[in-house]
């Protein structure tokens, strides 16, 4: 299950999806809003998603992970909207019989999400400036 959350979400209820008596290993990953990025002080940020395609790509990544790794279940929730320092941007959980595949799958999911899911991040800096992450080379060549 991949889902977007426009509001902060609780992690505890997410755990119930993983209850399975065959599961011996549970690996999670959370991305948090850091105070600096590339050396600039960040005060808050905004995630904007192309919603339908994010869910479609995210779900495809989870499906393929379930097929490619010896795991039982995997879930991902990604925030959209305004986030403050320390807020959870993404939560990923994977349960499996054994720890190796749980770790591998969890890492694979976050790597793929960062590559393929159409979600963009705008950072607001302490100096009042702001900018879309990953567009350094672009802005100059345009307007």
């Amino acid at each position: 299950m991949f889902r977007l959350s426009p509001k902060p979400f609780s992690i505890k209820p997410l755990r119930y999806d993983f209850l399975d008596s065959a599961a011996g290993a549970f690996a999670t990953f959370e991305g948090w809003v850091r105070e600096t990025n590339d050396g600039r002080a960040v005060v808050r940020l905004e995630y904007e998603a192309y919603p339908e395609m994010s869910v479609r790509e995210g779900s495809r990544i989870l499906d393929e992970t379930r097929k490619g790794f010896d795991i039982i279940r995997c879930v991902c929730v990604h925030r959209t909207g305004t986030l403050e320092l320390g807020d959870i941007a993404v939560w990923i959980g994977v349960c499996a019989a054994h720890r190796g595949p749980a770790f591998d799958a969890c890492r694979h999911i976050i790597d793929e999400i960062k590559l393929l899911v159409p979600i963009w991040k705008k950072e607001y800096y302490a100096d009042g400036d702001s900018g879309w992450v990953g567009l350094n080379g672009l802005s100059s060549g345009s307007c």
Partner: protein, 89 residues
Amino acid sequence: MPDHTRKDGAKTVAVEYFAIFRERRGCSSETVTTHAATAAGLYAELAGSYAFPASRDHIRVAINQEFKAWDTVLANDDTVVFIPPVAGG
């Protein structure tokens, strides 16, 4: 499905804008009638009118919610989205 291709070869596509494209276009979506054959052609057309990045180097295109090659031929009623570098996670 009925063929909406117009007699003059123009097609009508939906373009949705996100992130930097939404900001530069000043809107979230529009219907565009275009003579461009491909996604690349449509991009060039729109980049001429709005302050889009001149180079497509780090930009991808999604047609009907799937990543596609820039030389993909546009069909009538396609939904086109330009995808700047993603930064989820």
